[in-house]
Amino acid sequence: MKDELRGWDPYPLKQKGEGEPVYWDEGHLERRERFKDLIRPAELPETARGLGGKLRRTREARGISIAQAAQSTFIQARYLEAIERGQIENLPGGLYTRRFIELYAQFLNFDGRAVSRALLPGTTVSELIKDSFSGVVNYNSGRASSTDATETKLPRLGEVLLYYFLSEEERDGFIGDVEETYSVIEVKFGTRAAEIFFYKEILNSMSPLLARFIARVILAMLNEMK
């Protein structure tokens, strides 16, 4: 991204100099949504830009091209470029954003976890779950390869189902429990192990939750028949 493009927004939410947002016409918001990739944030967080630049300089100092880095890390070149520019919003979202940053930082001998923490402060399991709702579009367009797809399709589905199959009352307790175990494993065995736990946990939790859901549906149907 060229720096002169910074702050460029073809579909601004409000006209300059006026307090109230003014939409140009009815289709404005829809177009804004459709072309949101074109919108450049006016300011990036200092840490994101600074850290990204640091990664880029380190890579260049070692004489590694983006293409070579992409080959070694199995991360698409455009994502690596996005990390170097600090454009976190261009990454595929969810666990992938964090994992990509970590892998790339580790590839350049940085502390992967520290870098991802700095770039994505406060990424937690609940956010990952939330992401699986909001980030679906982002995620599909950002799919890197076929192996990528098989790895993620199920857990994604699992997260969504998990959210719907838990009662309001259970949700905090359940997700909090997963979160707590996640952080314990992360401290003890690292992020990779914690992620594996997270996906395994969701897959294993699916069958009892699904069974309860089906039982409830059948019971409701029987009651209706009476």
């Binding site: 937690t124 956010e127 259970e170 307790g173 909090g176 429990d177 979160e179 175990t181």
Partner: protein, 112 residues
Amino acid sequence: MSNQKPYLGEFEEFVLLAVLVLGDNAYGVSIRDLIEQETGRSVSFGAIYTTLDRLKTKGYVSSRQGEPTQERGGRAKRYFKIEGIGETALREAQSARNRMLKLTKLRPTWQT
């Protein structure tokens, strides 16, 4: 449930025992850790929560919301507590098992 004899499934029994053992500290993580430690099976939170849900419907346990903590992403714990009828069900299940064990040549492990 009043006109019916209390009934406990096998996993329900373990969960109920764990809730009883843990006392004031019975919530998802501690229940799971205890069961995994004592039985050697791996247990999912999904299984624990659906079981606790069933036990709650039967009136064997009650639950209350606890304090949210940092490591839990700011989410509150849900604590479980065993009720009197739950303890009765537990004792009933144990004695039924012991009666049937007596009919076989097997002895409870602590007697061999």
